[in-house]
Symmetry: D3
Subunit: 318 residues, 6 copies
């Protein structure tokens, strides 16, 4: 079975894939004919596909998130690859394939990621901080297990958010060791909280973001977390004017650093300065890693990476 | 008695003024002598003043917010006016002057402003919105009566914030009449709430802002109001995910319009778009009015106005 | 008859529409065939349409600004609706439809708008100002009755400019009442003059802008109005150095506020500051209103609005 | 007699200078004493000076634009040189010095500059263009002979504007030779007209700009020239809609290239593109030349030059 | 034979052209068919073309840089012209056409351009400067004869770089005459060196740039030239700390003027300031000239020019 | 002995300090008197000081970098502390104080820092990379032991550059462990090289930067390092076109990330992306640490930190 990442024009191939998007359209011909405009994916990537001359049965059989077996031809269209589908059928239990195998996912299991996050949470010494973080982790609930960290920028896959948090916690632990003036409780709390409202900012299924939610658009995840902290403080009877509450809200509100990057205030706590760079370093290097992984080894340059000022990354030959 | 706005070099004068700022300093001479570096103010403006050769008694008598009788000489120093104090004493009850006469203040009495705000608040038809706004008005408390709207930009005087709100409510009422697609409840709520955390963002006394508070610096008034709304909703048992709560938070968060002006989200509700322009129109025209009022009639140009891109305003001769 | 705003794929429909744009193109097939690539419109909106296999007669019958009866099918093409035309013929006198019914137009009649503008013009007390404004209104002539206010940003329809002026005059009257330091004559003059050269900046027919004129591109409407004022002053023998002439030119030149928005000078008169915000408030709220009106009620979000930083507007559910 | 450019602390010197600025101030001492705060200048530069203990006679004798003989001491105050005046008296006819010797001035005589401008003007072949340019040259009148080209940026001295025009005409002639698609009439006209309203934008005496005029601030010289062209066209009965008039106005309006540099339209004629670079090249190189000339040869770096992004220029040792 | 610049829909034509780009693609039809997606060019311009139903022979016959004889039809597709190829064959020796006739090229022969550059190089008086420049000219080698000056911005054709250098040398000579404080050696050196690494920054064949090289992307031509100067200095035993080496590197590094235009340092030598404006004037006027030349005389407006802020240029009718 | 950091007005004190800056100035009095305008420093900070009525002996005794014993009075002048010197004499051998005790310095000894750098250098496995880095370390020589990393932004003290490098190497080692796609040799090389030309960009003595060097201003340290790499490659006979040389130059050139921050190219290698964030994280957190250390514990806010967008940092009370 061929991985999508390995397809090249003009390959003919057979394999199992997941329908990620599907729309019924009409050709320009006379008379117009219906066809299915599809995006197929597997864990290695995604590719557009067309089923020409779609029958009524086709239109009633195939939907987004359906697992299918496809026989097809890889074509070059406007300099991008696409599939011309020859045969297609739904996968059956006998095929022995399961949906989660076709989803791009973090390299560590969600279970392990969540365990790590809880272990760090429990290691926060200040009980007030721990209570606030704990409240927010409970509030986001199961979604922390599978939510991506972003729509497309970075960690845009199943459990991407939890993976981002865990890697940041590693950097945070290192930097607290190197810089004793940083408060480890605030660093841990800031890392766990900084994007914790993202699952509610986006509409996602199995790590695939289809849109932003209404509150995501109207408030943004940064202000949402700030309100969650208010909620947590009220729940636990913590003074809203206390330095702990204001400090945690500040660290979250300022973590994008500049107003034009979405932060209403600039970092003004040592831990807020640190959090911004811990977050940037992990996000940017993950963009590089994701681009390298999904680009064939034979290509010296990755595609352009939007989060890196639209620059491609080069594989140096040493 | 000469108003500060009317003083010109090299006038000699006698009058009552308020000590707005005071610092004890030393001259460069040998031996060094103590002198008092003072800012005097009255309702018409403010001016720097020096008391050379300050005695021990002087240093123990005069403090900020002291009302004093001054005999002095107006001098020109580095192109700006300053007072050389000849005689100075504390005002006594017999002088019949009272502190509030020396404070710059909104042209409408705080009592009337607060009455108007409450009347409009009561006219909000949607009970959920009314409850949230009411909670915030109760929370800010007495400070709404005397707080300025800003440190120096606009409405920087006693009751400036309430005055700004009331004038905006007038514009809001007009624009809701002109544009029926606007929801008057949201417009009223947005206007009352948009700056309601400013008294907690700044440290002010009698309308004079001396600094920003810690939470003012770390959170900013925009995010503070957003948290107040969360608090209000929890208090009144309103769903935090409801369109009402999200909508009010959005209107407040977006009222500065652009990220570089301090808003983490752009306006995406009709009332949010309206609120930004109601706020701008009132603030900018007040800057113009304040500059015209504190500039002698004989001057064709006001000083530069920081909030108007550092431009001065000209009195056209028609 | 179905309004364009109400069409949905895969509707079949019959109705009268106006051909707004038309181009003869060739298919990619062998042999290539001619087809008509059309944009149909009515007062509710516009939609692309194709007439496949266009005959010689078709090509000699249909042109932009032709009223036609169409039988067609609504299709989805690249996520946007388009019409596949089945039958099409020119409208005849017997059909009882008239062109102006198919043009999007201001909600107030041009006649009434012009009357209002003249009434306000006559109420300007300063005869010099009145003469200058009057000269410019005469100069623009009939075009004021039907010109749109912009190519696509806002008020982009028949009589849109006059409608924009009239609504701004309402705001101007209100704000002069609220702020007595504003000179009502300058506000009225500024509002009537600020965009008065737009009909000469754009090439428009029935409120539909097809292009900018040469002088529109080389000078821009702001500088054009400034020259009209010079012309008016010379015609009426008014001193070009007088504060009246300079003041009116300044108010027009500065009404876009910032250089990057097209103003060569920043507002430096109270009325110039006011005019910018009166203009912004009316234009931005009209963009919101236009977007809400042309979006089906069932859609919670309007399309993105270019003049509002490319943000969509949400219909809150209270 | 020592030139100001050559003074160094702690020189004692005697010489004739011009009082460029003068203000009467009071010392901080008790009792306060009057002193004269003066700026002295000669053709080589300028320097601040103090006359301590000014007598009543002193205050009635010395004014800006008075030629004086000074005996003084050069001191270093806050890292900048200033003069402590020992003796000072007005220059008398016997001294044989004349005011214009103390004014910084273009290196070519105003008479020759004006002759050159008129010669080029007469060489414009298109009579319509020639008439418009001629009208503007007549309108600016004598001021063209002595006006500086800017307040401080470049050519900020007697006849600086005419000098700037003449040097640009040389570049213009060269570039028309090199690029035959450029119309020499438009290049000549654009160069003579581009800054011709500057003498009316600024308030200047003997090449020293003390302020901007009201119309300079409210309109700016670019829009002023555009109106002058309108005036010229009306005077000569030229159609205001003709390509000649629009073209000349465009060339002037666009010569600052970008909106943030003050141009309401971008260059869209070949000659407009050329004019911007002719103007920039002459202005920037003049800034360099002026900085080199007024910096002692021994200094490897000039002071920072505001018009060159606040960079200093270095004398390379080859 | 029709020049590409003169083709108009729906012309039928026969002529010789060069295949500039070629890709084999498949149609959307069932069954899919191969077609050739081609860009044809001649010295006057370029145009897209399709060969539908491409045979196996076709696919083995036609490649980029093949000279062909084409019989075709000009069609309008999405508002842009394209060719539907009827017949196509390779050019034969009998046709008497040669490849270089179909390449857009500088209006002066490469031989003459190189001669001029060498003549100026030899006229540099300072032997150290001459040696460094000479080293770099030798290093770039033959590529200087045919390299374009840019991918598409300006001088994007055969020998475009040499032509750009030669025209700049003319301006440089003029400006050194006008401004004696400029060092002619540095001006000559700066002009010859400023873009001399461009042939190594880009991958070009016959003046057609297909991509940037790896070192072009990773270093940029500005830093590459700086390293070449280091290399030259080491080769000739010149002190790397000497003002000559630092000065030449500075002039090259700063010639884009601002960081956002690619220069790591701002111009701080008189010759560096001059070089930036000599380069800008030549590049911008060449963009204008190129646009005018490739636009039919009947069109009053050229297409938008990317290097001129996306503005089109107008042909004024005087 | 009182540390400068602990001085408060109006303390009287005696202690040893270093004269960091000294200028002879004159008072405004009649007759003018000479005084010494001094900046005193010790390892804890610096403060301005005045010696009024300076004798000829004083002027011949005290110079920058002189160790002195001072008896003085702390005064408040324009809201900043300054010293009025009562008595002052040069330190003698008997005083037992040594200059280096008065210099602010990295918290790790230069010797240890250099050892660490050499150890890491030796651990670079790729011999070509190691040779290039080694060449540059030899070239900078002893200066690496004492040079600060910047004039005032961060690590602005004795051995600050070496300290910055060593801390970055720690982060680099951590991040290479976390991200195996990063090449440790390139990370090590990038860190050691990125600022290695700073000692030649600045003029510094004992960690105190007095100015930038000519080549520092004309080339900047980023381009200087790029040339050093060219030099190193030529010295070791390494191909200048090889990926190693280009890669190292790219990593150095791009480490400021954006053009407006000084980098002529954007990061396009994984290690270049990493280096930028390693550098930022270390520099920004050091700015925070330096500000916290030099601010009295009793102050909740540090002074504004220029490199952190002019924001102060707050000490949270948990």
């Amino acid at each position: 079975m061929t991985l999508i990442k390995q397809l090249q024009a003009p390959d003919e191939f057979v394999g199992f894939y997941l329908i990620k998007e599907l729309e019924i359209k009409q050709t320009n011909t006379t008379p117009a004919k219906d066809f299915l405009d599809i995006v197929l994916c597997d864990a290695s990537g995604q590719i557009p596909a067309k089923l020409w001359d779609a029958s009524i049965t086709d239109k009633e059989t195939f939907f987004p998130m359906t697992l299918v077996k496809v026989q097809g031809l890889v074509q070059l269209y406007r300099e991008r690859l696409q599939i011309k589908i020859g045969k297609i059928r739904k996968a059956t239990p006998e095929d022995g394939v399961k949906l989660t195998d076709f989803i791009r996912s973090a390299p560590i299991s969600p279970y392990d990621l969540i365990q790590t996050i809880h272990r760090v949470l429990d290691s926060i010494e200040n009980p007030t901080i721990r209570n606030i973080v704990s409240f927010c982790v409970v509030k986001v609930g199961d979604k922390l297990e599978h939510s991506p960290a972003a729509k497309s920028h970075h960690h845009a896959y199943y459990a991407g958010l939890a993976y981002h948090i865990v890697r940041m916690l590693e950097i945070g632990e290192f930097i607290c060791g190197q810089r004793p003036f940083l408060n480890p409780d605030l660093i841990k709390a800031g890392i766990i909280l900084h994007d914790i409202a993202k699952p509610d900012e986006m509409v996602a299924q199995l790590g695939i973001v289809s849109d932003y939610s209404v509150q995501g658009k109207l408030l943004g995840h940064i202000s949402m977390v700030s309100s969650w902290i208010t909620e947590a403080a009220i729940y636990h009877g913590i003074d809203l004017q206390s330095d702990v509450v204001i400090g945690l809200q500040h660290i979250v509100l300022s973590h994008h650093n500049l107003p034009e990057w979405g932060s209403p205030v600039l970092p003004q706590l040592p831990e807020a300065v640190a959090l911004h760079y811990i977050d940037s370093m992990d996000a940017k290097l993950q963009m590089v890693e994701d681009a390298l992984l999904t680009t064939p080894e034979s290509e010296p340059w990755t595609p352009m990476i939007r989060g890196l000022e639209n620059k491609a990354v080069y594989r140096l030959k040493l």
